[in-house]
Amino acid sequence: MRRFVERLLILFRLRRPDGEMTREIDAHLALMQEAYEARGMTPQEARRAAVLGIGGVEQTKELHRQARSFLWLEHARQDVVHGLRLLRRQPLFTVTAAASLAIGIGANTAIFSVANGLVFRPPAGIVDPDALIDIGAARGDGGLNPISYSTYLEIARRTTSFSGVAAQSLSPHVMSVLPSDTGIAERIVGQYAAVNFFTVLGSHAVRGRVFDRNDRRAAVLDYDYWRRRFNRDEGIVGRELRINGRAFTVVGVAEAGFQGTGIHVRDVWLAISPDDGASSVVVTGRVRPDVTIGAAAAEVAAIGDVINVERGQWQRPQRLSALRFSRAGGNRNIVIGFAAALMVLVSIVLVAACSNLAGILLTRSTARAREMAVRTALGASRGRLVRQLLTETVLLYLVGGIVGIAFARVLLSLVTLLPTLPTPVNVPLVLDGKVMVFALSLSLCAAMAFGVLPACKGARGDTGSTMKEGVRSSSRTRLRGAFVSAQIALSILLVVLAALFVRVLRYAGGSDAGFDARDVEIATVDLSMSVAAQSAPQTLWRNAIDRVRALPAIEMASLARVPPGGLEGIGMGGIAAGDRPDALEFSPGWNIVDTGYFATLRIPIVQGRDFTAVDRVGAPPVVIVSATIARRLWFGQDAIGKPLILAIFNATSRRMERRVATVVGIVGDIKSSSLVDGLAEPYVYLPVAQALHTGMLNEMSIVARRRGNSTLESQIGPILRDLDPALVLARTESLSEAMALGLAPQRILAAVAAGMGLVSLLLAAMGIYGVTAYGVALRRREFGIRMALGAPRMRVISMVIKQGMWLVAAGAVIGLAMAIGAGRVLAVFFYGLPGVHAPTLLGSAVLLGAVGAAASVIPAVHAVRGNWQRALQDE
């Protein structure tokens, strides 16, 4: 142990025994010399004999050092020092190499830290998050859907594996709070949570208490909201707040930073009262210490089966399932999958950067062959040289990794550019230990994967010939060419992928969505904020839309249950042709709209008419369908005037029922919502005036086409307040923004692929330039001879370019093959995307060809411009 410590101390030069060692060896020599002199040698002879006898002074010192310290560590230290010196001496090389690595490593790190924030880092203020699991209804994609409150109660009642099962509403909602002091409704974000929510998570209150079992109409304030709105008022506990028209008592203030289980931020937590049975909830359970996570998950599934059996045919059966707890909740697997897809994408550029660097290192090692040969001649073993070269490479990659971490910070700040969700979210994207370890081990792995081959090649070399005449290693040149071709292939792959994602975007959300989103604003109003307004929604909507239409800033306005292009169209039930007894039912997308909706969005009315004031309650029920439905149900016939059976849920009688409505209009198809598939969804439109029975009029959006650039929030807000003081706008956004949200994943993919494609193009250009320039340098003499013999300059130039283009061609073939494969895979996930899109492939190949030609022109011109006579004399 002591020996170990001493060796370490010596290694880090904390001890300097070299001086003492020298003194000791000098003394030894002196004594020996003395002895030899005593035998009658001259002082010179004695000295020489002494040095011989000891076996060489420096050799002895080296033996001494080797015994003293960890030899390999000492060598590593030397290599590191040497490597750092080399990096410092070639700043241009170091900066470009580190920068190209940093882009790949940084992009990977940024994505990892997002995944880390969403999946691996537990939210603040939760005790022992490893014992928690998310519970929900199994979804086809491996995720979880929220379950009904009654199912939640069943699980909580039956379970034996959990010490507690907590529930919260699906997501926070914008609510209105009516403070007693001002009397003007304010917009807050609130979320319902079961009364055991805080205790199951293990979170405490900083003032007052968290919910307890008997709480009804209780509220726990978010710490930040308490600070912001109430200025840390100590008297807040016990105060009454009117939220959404009902009185809630503040029982406490949550811990600072407590954010629940997900990514959302809210101002207030409200206790779910037992009569809120209908709403769906997100469920999290705390597994008892003596039960494994797997066993608990199995129990959840079993309880689900029991519930299905007991409920019989009353409800559609659902399979209950559990996932490891994370901020991403039921979407954990989707987040991981998406992050993995992005990482694959940015790893392509990392691999391209590594290939580029490996190529440069190979060239450099060729240039350093003389150095290596000298060192071999002086007795360095090949392994030692490989280790030295590898150390230099690892250093370079680590510098790249460190710069990459800095770059990741920059990338993460771009997250703010993403479209915002309806309510605020907060995911702390910190570069914590896990992220650092990730970035540095990624750098190390890349260094090993791409550094070993050049290092081995670099350390090899026929000592004698190299020292005499410099280098002409064709195997290295070939390897270098292979690296450049690999880069070209990866660049093509990235460019094609970028083009494909842009196509997905264009196809899905682009020019022909079937409606015109420009200048359209959406203001969403939630009537659950006011008890009075809820009792007569149609009256309120009538009054509101009339007054909005009268605003001078508005060209046209209407109401819609769901604006197009945002989240899914509502599913309400099936439809069937009413004039054919054998008609099959199918489920379209539904919407409830007011008159003028189609005109406002510029959706063409193909045939028939829009809803009018005539279509009131009591008047014959009418319906408008999209062209797809008309075609599907009455192909080749006139759909206008035909009866349509609507099998939908009646919220008043709480039963499914069949109504018949007359088709009065056929409108153009619009592309659906998530836009991923980009398919025109069949749509059925009901008039607001006849839709009270659906029970869906509580939340509607005012859809308004504005004149000029005025924002509508400041104008519509007062109208609502005037109609009912408890109403505030749940949110306002432009329709394009709302659509952007639905397309965010594709947009991110396209942006990342495009950015990475650009970087890899640059790298490919660098690679081609490098290899061509090097080739020119090697063939200087040959070119000199050719030109001396009268070869035209253009011919030499074309020879050089041709050499570069061969590499491009080889890379292009591989890249196109990979791109076609990747396209096939993507076509499975994104509907409407052709697996093989010839123009894209061809375009990418041409682009790379152009870049390759441009990059090899400069060295080619260089080849003929130099003084070739001098080149000949040089050798």
Binding site: E6, E24, A27, L31, Q59, H64, R68
Partner: protein
């Protein structure tokens, strides 16, 4: 690997010889040790005297010997090594081990012939 084994074996032998010399003859400097070794050995210049140093360093790091600067009889500075208490115990252990090992090897060699 094989080269390492060889070095390790030689080192172990040298360590024991050095320890033994210091135990019987008291404090010695490196040159005196080397001379003593040459006296004992039949082929005096088989060994570079420099190869003694790794053994000295190793033994010192293990705490079996201690070095201190003193004057020689000819009034020169030299580093004298002396054996420590743990060193003496080690000599016994090492010598015993060596005796067993060499006994075994001898026996094997005899049996073979």
């Amino acid at each position: 690997m094989s080269r390492n084994d060889r070095v390790e074996l030689l080192n172990g032998t040298l360590d024991l010889i050095v320890l033994r010399a210091l135990a019987t003859m008291g404090p010695l400097h490196a040159y005196a040790l080397a001379s003593r070794l040459e006296q004992v050995a039949e082929h005096p210049l088989m060994l570079n005297q420099g190869t003694l140093y790794p053994a000295l360093v190793r033994l010192e790091q293990r705490g079996w010997i201690k070095g201190s600067w003193r004057k020689t009889e000819s009034n020169r500075e030299a580093k004298y090594y002396s054996i420590t208490q743990p060193g003496r115990r080690a000599v016994e252990e090492q010598a015993e081990r060596w005796r067993r090992l060499s006994g075994l090897v001898n026996k094997l060699l005899l049996d073979e012939s």
